[in-house]
Point group: C2
Chain length 236, copies 2
DNA sequence: CAGTATAATTGTATCGATACAATTTATCAA
DNA sequence: TTGATAAATTGTATCGATACAATTATACTG
């Protein structure tokens, strides 16, 4: 493990274990440098990472402080590693509706940046949280990257498989959110009524090298969907 | 202006002006170092900033590439500088419904971390985009920070005033999203029907020193609300 | 010519040093 | 006690150097 990541993990673990609250002050840089036997730059890098993650905030001339969101039960929108890692505290299961290799829709081909006659894995599943329907998900995986999927993988964590099984590094993703009304099919799968509100999120996931590999359209059960996200000012 | 920020701005401007597309390669680090007469660390810092902002992505051993989201007309969720800076390309106006000094609700006091008998500025406005209702907004400003507001400020950009007029630096913010159905009042203000879908976002804005100064509850017109956001993997 | 090993390219991690800006604390005068 | 001023604290910006990891290009081999 890389040093600054290790430091970040240890600091975060410390915050967790000691249940530090919003605004509580961490040891000063000098102390952390000594404690972790690392240079100022390295510790700073660890702290920047934690700041990006929303765990701490730094104030020049003052110190390093814990940042916390108070509410629980909200799904983090920015953990682009799939939900499984995000929702460890919850019972998350999946029911696979469809799984096959097919030609992509025009939209999917465009987003995945592939030809319309190339192959994709199509996955459709309903995901449940604590026994309630959470969302209806349709995903298109570029088959030249995600070369193999089966029912077992798909009913568990696809992202875990892509990282561990296939050895890819996940990079960034673009999310597009809409609000609208459920159509009949969506309502049926989610156990709601046609015309009920829906949150609809399209996500384009990329590998670390910039290749898009998964275009995903998810319709959320509005009764279960509470999301949070933490923003940081970019200055520019 | 600080050097690495300046470099970041110039690179971003270059990308804009040359209309570089997703995946196009920028000059290599060495070149950028020479071009901006800056050390490797400084250029890297500028690039990290742009990466955080979703403008570029870097691939070790390969290069620095442009990152772009294709869709236009979407509102960025993470620009916690208020919408005015975000939506420069659109006609954004506000109608002020209420503006007064009052005692905070229990909820607002809790979020702003103040006593229930201290004062807040309460602002309620409807915001329009290209002549259409965009959202109904209720905000509570900690009056001991935002000491003065008037109708003119409130009908324009409150955040611009807080930064430029009052000289504060905006820090981070926490967003909580829900989907639900419009009640009668909301529907009236937004020109929609009771029971129509709504996106409801509560945001707690903090100064750079960590003090919360604005607790804000916004109900969006689902017909106008298209949001996008860019996620980056934090590794940890 | 295909496949593999090697070399060159290019971004990342780490150290450490210097100067500096924002905040907080201490000092001192009125 | 108040309020200004100075000093100490503490994170930020910048340089530059070394070593390294991932990717890409090249050379080599069969």
């Amino acid at each position: 493990m890389i040093k600054y990541q290790q430091i970040a993990i240890e600091i975060e673990t410390y915050i967790e274990e000691h249940k530090l609250q919003q605004g509580e002050k961490l040891p000063v840089l000098e102390t952390l440098m000594a404690q972790f036997k690392a240079s100022k730059s390295t510790v700073t890098k660890a702290l920047d990472l934690l700041e990006k993650k929303g765990v701490v905030f730094q104030v020049r001339g003052s110190g390093i402080f814990v940042r916390r969101h108070k509410r629980t039960g909200y799904i983090g929108l920015l953990s682009n590693q799939g939900f499984t890692s995000e929702l460890e505290d919850f019972q998350l299961t999946s029911e696979v509706i469809e799984l096959d290799v097919r030609k992509p829709t025009q939209e999917a081909a465009l987003n995945l940046n592939i030809e319309e006659n190339s192959d994709v894995y199509y996955v459709k599943r309903v995901r449940y949280i604590n026994g309630q329907t959470l969302c209806l998900e349709e995903s298109f995986y570029n088959k030249s990257i995600v070369t193999y999927l089966n029912n077992e993988i798909v009913s568990q964590s696809i992202f875990h498989y892509i990282k561990e099984g296939l050895g890819f590094k996940i990079g960034f993703s673009d999310l597009y959110l809409h609000v609208g009304k459920l159509n009949e099919e969506e309502a049926t799968y989610l156990g709601l009524k046609e015309g009920d509100p829906k949150l609809f999120i399209e996500t384009l996931f990329h590998l670390a090298n910039g290749q898009p590999f998964d275009f995903s359209k998810v319709t959320y059960n509005y009764e279960q969907s509470q999301f949070f996200l933490q923003a940081t000012s970019h200055v520019l």
